[in-house]
Structures are given as structure tokens and as C-alpha cells.
Amino acid sequence: MSSSDRFRLREFAVTSLTKYYEGLEQVIRTDRMPHIFCPGCGLGIILKGLAEAILKSGIPINRHVGVSGIGCTGRLPGYLRIDAYHVTHGRAVAFAVGLKLANPELEVTVVGGDGDIVTIGGNHFIHAARRNHDINVIIVNNFIYGMTGGQYGATTPTGSYTTTSPYGHVEYPFNIPLLAYASGATFIARWTPIHYAQMVDAFLQMFEHKGFAVVEIIAPCVLYGERNRFPSYTDMVKYFRDRCVIDHEADLRKIGISLDPKEPLVIGNFYKVRRKTYEELYKELIERVSKEGAKE
């Protein structure tokens, strides 16, 4: 594509966004459009949904900060017109912890893929959840390492064919809501991009929630799909439409994902509880120390 074609494309993207998506151009970097995501990728929809949620959140856009790791999902905050930090693979949650502790006024949202947050970043994820930091974590789960070409990760269903499991995957995957719950997260939800309105609502609840909020978005990925029963772009989203079951009271132990055509894919807003956040507890500590005096 020539550079003049690319320029024309950008013009279309800018006008397309401004004309219709009221106000979204404030939150989306139209000078970087069109984005790099593949055809059939759910990230374009998630980007739109997150931008809409940021606008509707009632929190000034200047206070929103996006932190992401490496991978396709990691590119997402770079397309938002907010303070964004694209850090190293797996370390987004730790970076977000530092940001939030240094300035608790910030609304910190980590956006990462399943590989980044719960595979290489697993340790930071479970400890930040344990401490109940008031940060938001959006995990876009496409069951694979997309950016690097399609290797398996911690959420790849057993039996899947990926570039590093050419004979079928022999591992058991994580159940992210259960992992988050066991680690101490206080808001857990799971949606797909085609449940657009519910996804945006989950983001809004996530922003409002005080505590460690995890929203897992099950996303289509062509690299996973083309090797595993979903050859064309729409097959995976059709599967979501047909097999997704909304159950807010689901038993988290039973909602692992196998992508089996006979099994339902359970989604919903599973868990919300209010527990003192790390930031609140530490602030109380500082007040206690300044009143009682230093430890001898």
C-alpha cells in the first residue's frame, strides 16, 4: 500500500470515528488509525468499548492511565488518548501497582492478554490480587500467544493445535475467574466482545469498584481459530453467540473453558465484594504512625 493510500485510509478512519462515534475521537488516537489488529480480531471492538466506558465513567480522562504488556492486547492502550505505559512482557500489573501507590488519585487500568497477565505475569497478578490494590485488569483471553505467531499459553484448552503443540496440547488451562477469586480479587467478570453492551457495563462497574477488578474478555483470534475448528473469521464469534450462557451466579470452579462444541461457555458478572484496598490500609497506617509516633 502506498503512503498516499495509507494517508487516505487514515482520513477515512478519522472522519468515520468523528462523524459517528460521538466523542470517541477524544479518547481514541485517530492519528494512529487504522489499527494493526487482524480481520476477525476482537480487539477493535474492545478498544471501542473501553473508549466508550472511559468517556462514560465520570472520571476525568486525565486521571485514567493505561498500562499494558507485550502482545496484541498490549497495543491497545497506545491507541487510547490517555497516559499509557507499554512496559515489558508480564510486568504491567507490577508497574500499575507502583503508579497507584505513588498517586492513588489515578484510575489505573491494566490491559493485557492471557499470555502477558497470567502466564509470564502470573506471579505479579496473584500477589496484586491478594493485596487488593485498587486497580483494574482487563485480560483479553484468546487462548494463544497471538503476536508471536500462535504458540500456546496458560489458557490454551487441552487438545488444541498451536505452533508449539503441533500434535495437540497436553496441558490443562487456567480458569481465570477461579484464579482471580482464589488470589483475592474483589470484582470478577467475563464477557465477549459480541456482548458489547454488557462488556461496556462491566468496564463501568470495574472503574467504579474499589478493589482489584478483573474483567476477562474471551476474544476471537484467527491464529487460534484457523488451527482449531474455527477456520473462517466469523466461526469463533458464531460459537460465542451460540454457546455463551449468561449466569451471574455460576460456580467459578465449573466455568473452565474447553471450547468444546457441546459445552456452554459461561459468562457474566460473577463476583463483587467490597474489602479494604491496600491503598486504604496503607493510608490508615500512615495516619496511625503520625499520631502514635515512630516505632522505637
Binding site: 480522562i61 505505559y85 507499554h86 507490577a94 507502583g98 503508579l99 501507590l101
Partner: protein, 387 residues
């Protein structure tokens, strides 16, 4: 004038442990965030910070590992708070990827590495000097850092404050290469009057957000740093990025960015590097030593000078930038150089690289874990000198 919190260490004379002095210096420099992981022999710094930071309104957190620690430090610094961590060899190795992250994103931070005997787990409770090269070359790709080599409690105090200042001024990661002897020794510390202490803060942008189009301007070595939440809405990227902060694969973008990141320090190295010279004016033998080893080396110089042997000590106070020009000048005036360090040869390479061709360079390595006594260095010097 900078305002100093009433609970900071007051000006005066103290008899204090090196690690505690490090922590107090950080607080005076303005550090209000510490994230760390326990590792001998640096634990006193973490423990003291956990006690003192709430007193001055700062935040302490013990993270799940060293990687989380240094990344949280960078996050806090990105939000505008001076931040540090302290560790030792094994933890320092874990932090290497983040040294690159700090360099690429130009986020100021301070790592205190209380060096211990290695390699690997080594001897956690005893001294080592084996991280000199790692401090500069530990991470992948091209970048520059500043590393200090304190040799006394007073120096670790002064250098920690300086480390924060340099980090803020150059938007770079600075390392204080303390060691177990300096960290655990108890020595004299003089805290000067606050007006005499220079504190440097990072430059913030002075234009409104709409006007800041190029936060990573390559036409100036160091740009003002937009802080998270201040309204600038900048994309900080660990990917190679253009002047707007957007990722780019363009050849010129890559070259301009990487060369600016290193020129930032290289073009200022003469202002940053520090060293001490002891009796080098007429020296024929030059001792090169740093950190705790320099204390023994100084004794050797004193003793041999009483016998009229023309020996001097060159003590680099910054490992990086290494004062190579001075090394080169001195090497031309002496006939022999003895490099004493508690490793199998690290600063030795720098001495070899920058010294004149015809000078004889002898290495005096010592067992990791132990500070060489003056007699050990003295014997090597006598052997080299033939006396």
C-alpha cells in the same frame, strides 16, 4: 529553598551503619517510594525504609520478587514520585530487563546494589565486587547508566543523594554499587546543613498539554518529563518509538532514538564521572582500587610511601561513566599498574582498555567474600616492583 520534612535525619555528626545511612540519604534526597524484596546484605535498607517512610508520608511495599520491585519503582517514578529499591547480586540479575525498560522510557530510578560474594547464591553474608560489568552491560541493547562506588559510610550517604540527583537530571537509572563491607560497617557520618545539600528534581513540561506534541524530542538530549495524571496523555513505550511516543520500525527513528539515549550520558561524562587520587603526582606504580578494597589500598600507599616507593592510588568513584581520560593520562606517567578488586577481573578490563600500550598491568584478585588485607596488596606490589 527545598523544604525538608521535620522527621528527616537532622544535620549533625553520627556514628551509623552504611545501609542505614543509605536509607536516610534517600529520604533526604526526596525518595518517597520504596519497593523491594528481602536479600542479604541489603535488608537493613528495606527494614529501615519500612519504618521511616510512613513517618514522612511515603509508601513502602515489599513486592513478590525483585522483578516486581524494580517495575513498581518505575511505575511510582512515572507518577512523579522519587523511588528506589535495594538488592544484591542475585536480585540485581533479575532486575536487568527493567534496566533496559527504565532506559528506553527514560524514567528516573535508583537501585542500590549491596554487592556480595558470587557467582549465583555465593556467600550472602560476605562482601563481593563482582557486579561492576553487569551494572553497565547487564541488559540487552544499547543504553547508558550511572553507577557509584562508595568507599565509606559518608560516601554511601553522599553518593545516594547524588544518585537521585543524577537520575532526575538525566532521566536515567542510577546504581549505587555499595558492598557488604560498606553496607554493614558502622562509621562516621556528617550530615551537612540542609542548605548545603543540592537536591535536583526532574524538569516538568512548562507548556500546556495541547502544545506538547513531541514529548520525546530528539533535538534535545533530555526532554521535560510528563507525569502520569498531569493531563499530557503521553504514550510511553518500551518499543522503539518516534518523537510522539508512537512505536515505529523506521530505520531513522531507531537510530535517532538509540543514539540520543546513549549520548545523553556520553556527552556529559566529564561532568558526571568522579574519582579520587592519592599521591599520584609523582607515582611510578599506580594502584587502582574501589569500594572497600580502596581502604586497604590506601593503607598500602601510606606504608610504601614511608619507604619512599613512588606509589599512588587511583580510585574511581563512578564505575560508569568510567573516568577513562584520567586513567589514560595517569597510565602514561607510570610504568606499572596493579588493579586490586574482589573479583576475577572486571575493572581490570577497563584499565587495560584505556591504559597506554607499554604500561605493565597486574591483576590482584581476591577471594569473593573477603576484603583483601593491606598485606596482600603490598606483597603483590613488592613482587611487581621487585623490592
Amino acid at each position: 529553598m527545598k523544604s525538608f520534612h521535620p522527621r528527616l535525619l537532622k544535620p549533625g555528626r553520627y556514628f551509623m551503619q552504611g545501609n542505614i545511612a543509605t536509607a536516610e540519604a534517600a529520604l533526604i534526597a526526596g525518595c518517597r517510594f520504596y519497593a523491594g524484596y528481602p536479600i542479604t546484605p541489603s535488608n537493613e535498607i528495606a527494614e529501615w525504609m519500612s519504618r521511616r517512610l510512613p513517618e514522612v508520608g511515603g509508601v513502602f511495599i515489599q513486592m513478590e520478587d525483585e522483578i516486581g520491585s524494580i517495575v513498581a519503582v518505575l511505575g511510582a517514578s512515572a507518577a512523579g514520585v522519587k523511588a528506589m529499591t535495594a538488592t544484591s547480586g542475585p536480585g540485581f540479575s533479575l532486575m536487568m530487563e527493567s534496566v533496559g525498560l527504565a532506559s528506553m522510557m527514560e524514567i528516573p530510578a535508583v537501585i542500590v546494589n549491596v554487592m556480595r560474594a558470587g557467582p549465583s547464591t555465593g556467600i550472602p553474608t560476605l562482601v563481593g565486587q563482582g557486579d561492576i560489568m553487569q551494572a553497565k552491560w547487564g541488559s540487552h541493547g544499547d543504553y547508558e547508566i550511572i553507577a557509584y562506588l562508595p568507599s565509606s559510610v559518608q560516601e554511601v550517604f553522599d553518593m545516594t543523594i547524588k544518585a537521585f540527583n543524577m537520575a532526575e537530571k538525566y532521566r536515567v537509572l542510577t546504581i549505587v554499587l555499595s558492598d557488604q563491607v560498606i553496607g554493614h560497617m558502622i562509621g562516621k557520618l556528617v550530615v551537612p546543613d540542609y542548605e548545603e545539600i543540592e537536591i535536583i528534581d526532574r524538569e516538568l513540561p512548562d507548556v500546556p498539554p495541547e502544545k506538547l506534541v513531541y514529548p520525546f524530542d530528539n533535538s534535545r538530549l533530555i526532554s521535560p518529563m510528563p507525569i502520569a495524571g498531569a493531563g499530557y496523555r503521553v504514550n510511553y513505550d518500551s518499543l522503539t518509538h518516534d518523537e510522539r511516543g508512537y512505536p515505529s520500525v523506521d530505520r531513522d527513528v531507531s537510530f535517532r532514538l538509540v543514539s540520543r539515549l546513549v549520548r545523553k550520558i556520553r556527552e556529559n561524562e566529564k561532568a558526571i564521572a568522579e574519582w579520587e587520587e592519592y599521591y599520584t603526582d609523582d607515582a611510578d606504580i599506580l594502584l587502582v582500587a574501589y569500594g572497600c578494597t580502596a581502604r586497604s589500598a590506601k593503607e598500602v600507599v601510606k606504608k610504601l610511601r614511608r619507604e619512599n616507593i613512588r606509589i599512588g592510588l587511583f580510585r574511581p568513584k563512578t564505575a560508569w561513566p568510567f573516568p577513562w581520560w584520567r586513567m589514560n593520562e595517569l597510565s602514561k606517567r607510570v610504568s606499572k599498574i596493579v588493579v586490586a578488586e574482589i573479583n576475577m577481573g572486571q575493572m581490570l578490563h577497563l584499565v587495560r582498555e584505556y591504559s597506554a600500550r607499554d604500561v605493565e598491568i597486574v591483576h590482584a584478585p581476591y577471594a569473593p567474600g573477603y576484603m583483601p588485607p593491606p598485606s596482600y596488596i603490598e606483597n603483590i606490589v613488592r613482587g611487581v616492583y621487585g623490592a
